[in-house]
């Protein structure tokens, strides 16, 4: 029996099609894959973990055994890996492209840091092990603390705060404790209008009264308004430097001196330290406390919302009030000053802020980052971050409204407003969503509050010139097209995993978890 070979094979030439949009059976579109919820796919009898058998001993749960079904579906390992891998592909990330989110310092996250944080000697140790068994961990904290003090020119640092806002809390509690120590009842904290929301929220959280100080036409704190408001009721000012408009506050030293002269303290929000690391030491500007977001300047990954780490450097005036625990050098090695030793070594400490010692995993990553760059490289970091931002500012300011460009260069981020879109009916959000279609994560929108429709672009130093040129090209293209034909731009994004989402509906009828009755 002989069959004829099919020697035509598969077609290789393109065939003209209709180009009509195709609805797929699955809802997937090639590599863009829809993924159901765990609760729609997993089952209560499936597990992706094998465990040894349970030894047959009578339970000692005192009659409190959990009998009712909990409702936690499981996946086998292949199902789990695929579930999360598919979901991951619906995310934008630095690993995919530039993420110019102003105030957030989305720089490359070096993989060496991940590897170091996973060394068992750092990852597999317990916070309450005897201190003799964790001397290397205490050493790491001590070395990192030394880098932070030298980079900021400050004499002390509190390592335990868990993020920037928690660092703010640490600094403001130290100020409360210092005031209490001298029986000083002052409670007013002055906060510039341009400040991040965490600043007033933190001050209020620990019992201060917040008053706003306006910005001037150059995007800086209004020095006259600030000096005029200072007085014996002012406990502290909270200033961000470089500020949230991406500008250096040239009067900070003057303000610090004036605040000190009336008996107050200066809290500096150090979220934007990346612009000045290695070039300016906040200690030289009269600052009493400043948090450092290790998850910004020192590249520990944001992880889709956290974790962060927010060590706080302190002046000599506030250092005695620093929280426990902290690491101290002794003749017998390093010691963690905790409750049992606090009375002798930290009698003025305002107390404990977290259950254990802070974000060790972030400490390891940040130290690996600092050691990799060194003092010379960190200075280069600030210079390149500032250069990149100014390049963006210079390349867009003829088209985008740049409210403070006339006052000189910016620092690490370029601020625009949407005034140039006046009359089109379009605003910052439309421009941001159009950039999504161009393959970029948008800039920070509507923050700071001091300009209309703010667009805060922070490229960071880890972007190449080619990447910046592409972003600039896309931003020019989108803006030009929006001015020419506004109606075409109200519905972006078109190509993202989802079109614009209804946030009003979400807030009006909150659905905050899966309900089984919804199951299809």
């Amino acid at each position: 029996m002989s069959t004829e070979m099919n020697n035509v094979g598969r077609p290789t030439r393109l065939v003209a099609g209709t180009g009509a949009a195709v609805e797929t059976f699955t809802g997937n579109r090639a590599l863009m894959l829809e993924e159901p919820l765990l609760f729609e796919r997993g089952s209560l009898d499936t597990s992706g973990v094998d465990l040894p058998p349970v030894p047959p001993v009578p339970d000692r749960l005192g009659g409190l055994a959990r009998d009712a079904v909990i409702g936690l579906p499981g996946f086998s390992e292949p199902e789990a890996v695929r579930h999360y891998t598919r979901l991951s592909r619906q995310n934008y990330a630095i690993d995919l492209g530039i993420f110019p989110l102003g105030s957030c310092t989305m720089k490359h996250n070096p993989r060496l840091n991940e590897k170091m944080a996973r060394l068992p000697g750092f990852a597999d140790i317990h916070p309450l092990q005897p201190q003799s068994t964790v001397q290397g961990a205490l050493e790491l904290i001590d070395v990192l603390a030394d880098w932070l003090m030298k980079l900021t020119g400050m004499p002390a640092v509190a390592m335990s705060p868990k993020a920037g806002a928690h660092g703010e809390l640490c600094g403001m509690l130290a100020i409360r404790a210092a005031l209490d120590a001298r029986n000083d009842p002052r409670r007013v904290v002055l906060v510039p209008e341009s400040a991040h929301g965490t600043n007033p929220a933190t001050a209020a959280f620990c019992g201060f009264t917040v008053e706003n100080i306006p910005a001037n036409a150059r995007g800086r704190v209004d020095l006259d308004a600030m000096l005029a408001r200072l007085g014996p009721d002012v406990a502290a000012v909270m200033i961000t430097n470089p500020n949230t408009c991406g500008l250096f506050e040239p009067d900070l030293k003057t303000i610090s001196d004036a605040v000190h002269a009336v008996g107050g303290y200066v809290y500096c929000d150090g979220a934007n330290f990346n612009a000045i690391v290695g070039r300016v030491r906040p200690g030289d500007l009269g600052v009493d406390a400043m948090h450092i977001n290790l998850h910004k300047t020192f590249s520990t990954p944001h992880g889709g919302g956290g974790p962060g780490s927010g060590p706080v450097v302190l002046s000599a005036a506030l250092a005695p009030f620093a929280p426990i625990p902290f690491v101290r050098k002794t003749a017998n090695g390093l010691e963690l000053v905790e409750e049992d030793t606090a009375g002798t070594h930290a009698a003025d400490s305002f107390g404990r802020m977290v259950a254990f010692h802070g974000q060790m995993g972030m400490f390891v990553r940040a130290l690996a980052y600092m050691m990799s760059h060194g003092a010379d490289g960190l200075r280069q970091v600030a210079e390149d971050a500032v250069l990149n931002a100014n390049y963006i500012l210079a390349s867009l300011k003829d088209l985008y409204t740049a409210p403070f460009a006339s006052s000189g260069p910016c620092m690490h981020e370029a601020l625009f407003s949407d005034d140039f879109l006046d009359g089109t009916g379009l605003s910052t959000i439309d421009l941001a969503k159009a950039l999504i279609d161009e393959g970029f994560h948008p800039m920070t929108m509507y923050f700071p509050l001091v300009v209309h429709g703010a667009m805060l672009v922070e490229p960071t130093e880890t972007e190449s010139k080619a990447n910046l040129d592409q972003l600039i090209g896309a931003m020019r293209h989108v803006a030009t097209q929006m001015l020419a034909d506004p109606d075409a731009w109200r519905a972006a994004p078109h190509f993202a995993p989802r079109r614009r989402l209804d946030e009003t509906l979400a807030a009006r009828k909150p659905v905050l978890g899966f309900k089984d009755s919804e199951a299809a």
């Binding site: 409190l64 409702g71 000045i276």
Partner: protein
């Protein structure tokens, strides 16, 4: 410099576009007295991957790790086996290197994970809703107390003596300045129920009480039926806040929600995170739906997009600092997103069946070890009911015992002297945690070492 892509030629071209002669011109706003001319003194210059790795490996090598020693330390952080695929998931660059999902159209991965996480936490704790995470269990507890004050408009909070003392310290750090009143007692070593006495907690509740905070299992491992306490709270118009530091326990014992809790906070480290010398960990926060507008932190909710497809967004943000500023329910911004992913992935790998198995295994192994150690001369087991952690009375100061055990290579538990240094009556206590990771050889080593140290 391997992380910096700009070349010298790029820098010159960019300066030309900007119209600046040098990069120093860009720092013109810095006052002269603060300008640094060169790299900061006293710090090394840049280093290769190899050099950095060598230095850090050396430091890491000075620590005794949990996996290479018989290990029984708990008290708020537990050594559980984390499946290999969990670490793979959290190292996906799309999760690891994303920011908070402020642009939901390109953050559905993170948002769906948060929605699943919130659902898992709510079900596990027996509550209606959960948020997208807090920093850790201790800060979650403080936030819960403040939330109870906002809801009840009452000033006083009663904290059980069975709550982890570090958690109570964190609360007191803040209340010292906010004016909230905190009544917290000292634990007792009542045989069969070490820690607190629910009847006396109930007796403390009055018309000023906003909430009672109780930990279950408590610091000493004791587990209790909280239903009478919940009833007493509700009768007095106060809320019951339940703290859970060992979340695996909820695979075996009744949930706080089933016992009447109004807010449940916890430490989620047991699932997904690992020990990490204390952080980053995962604050869990769950409550009743009617109170959600007073809750701190981010919430993820379901909605639809412009074409009608289901999608997820951050929602109810008018509670938060970026909108409400000084009137926000909390100042939290960055939370523990990636650890929430690790937790959720670990829990979805376990599933209900796996979690129940894991919890049963932890409990049975703890029962076995407790009975063995209680046979060591001079040692008394203080617990009646417990889950995977129990307290031994050594009849002598426990702190040196723990240190001696460590010298023999056994990380045997936490001494009360470390946690309650001022309470001499408690100094004989040693708290021992047992998880699925401890082997029979580890049990032998612990029993032998304790026998020897006690002799």
């Amino acid at each position: 410099m391997r992380y910096l892509p700009l070349s010298t030629a790029d820098r010159s071209a960019m300066l030309a576009t900007i119209g600046a002669a040098s990069v120093d011109d860009l720092f013109a706003d810095v006052p002269a007295e603060a300008v640094l001319d060169g790299p900061i003194a006293g710090l090394p210059n840049h280093a290769s991957e190899m050099a950095v790795e060598r230095a850090l490996v050396k430091m890491a090598g000075k620590n005794k790790t949990a996996s290479t020693n018989p290990f029984f330390v708990g008290c708020g952080a537990y050594k559980h086996h984390v499946p290999a695929s969990v670490d793979m998931v959290i190292q996906r660059g799309e999760f690891l290197t994303a920011y908070t999902p402020y642009q939901p159209e390109i953050a559905q991965g993170t948002l769906q994970v948060l929605f699943e996480f919130q659902t898992q936490v709510a079900r596990l704790t027996g509550m209606e809703v959960a948020n997208a995470s807090m920093y850790d269990g201790s800060t979650a507890m403080t936030e819960a107390v403040f939330m109870a004050r906002r809801i009840t408009r009452r000033p006083k909070c009663i904290v059980s003596a069975g709550v982890h003392p570090h958690y109570t310290s964190v609360l007191k750090t803040l209340t010292r300045f906010t004016g909230d009143l905190v009544e917290a007692g000292v634990p007792t070593f009542t045989p069969g129920a070490p820690g607190d006495d629910l009847a006396s907690l109930i007796a403390q509740i009055d018309a000023d009480t906003s909430c009672v905070v109780v930990q279950n299992p408590n610091l000493f491992g004791h587990i209790a039926d909280l239903t009478p306490l919940a009833d007493a709270c509700h009768k007095a118009g106060a809320l019951l806040i339940v703290v859970v530091t060992e979340i695996v326990s909820l695979g075996a014992i009744k949930s706080p929600g089933e016992m009447g809790a109004d807010i449940v906070v916890g430490e989620g480290q047991s699932l997904g995170a690992g020990l990490l010398f204390g952080g980053p960990y995962l604050g869990l926060f769950a409550c009743r739906e009617k109170h959600v507008r007073q809750a701190p932190g981010r919430l993820c909710g379901e909605t639809v997009d412009a074409s009608g497809k289901r999608g997820f967004v951050l929602t109810l943000s008018t509670r938060e600092q970026h909108i409400r500023r000084e009137k926000a329910t909390s100042n939290i911004c960055t939370n523990s997103g990636l650890i929430a992913l690790a937790f959720s992935a670990h829990l979805s790998l376990l599933g209900e069946k796996g979690l129940r198995h894991l919890a049963a295994l932890n409990h049975a192994r703890a029962v076995q070890l407790a009975d063995r150690l209680a046979r060591v001369p001079g040692v008394t087991l203080l617990n009646g009911p417990f889950f995977n952690e129990f307290t031994l009375d050594l009849g002598r100061e426990a702190r040196p015992v723990v240190r001696k055990l460590a010298e023999t290579g056994v990380l045997g538990g936490v001494s009360m002297g470390r946690l309650w240094p001022t309470e001499k009556a408690l100094a004989g206590g040693m708290i021992v945690a047992v998880t699925e990771t401890a082997t029979d050889e580890d049990f032998d080593a612990f029993e032998d070492a304790l026998d020897e140290v006690m002799a």
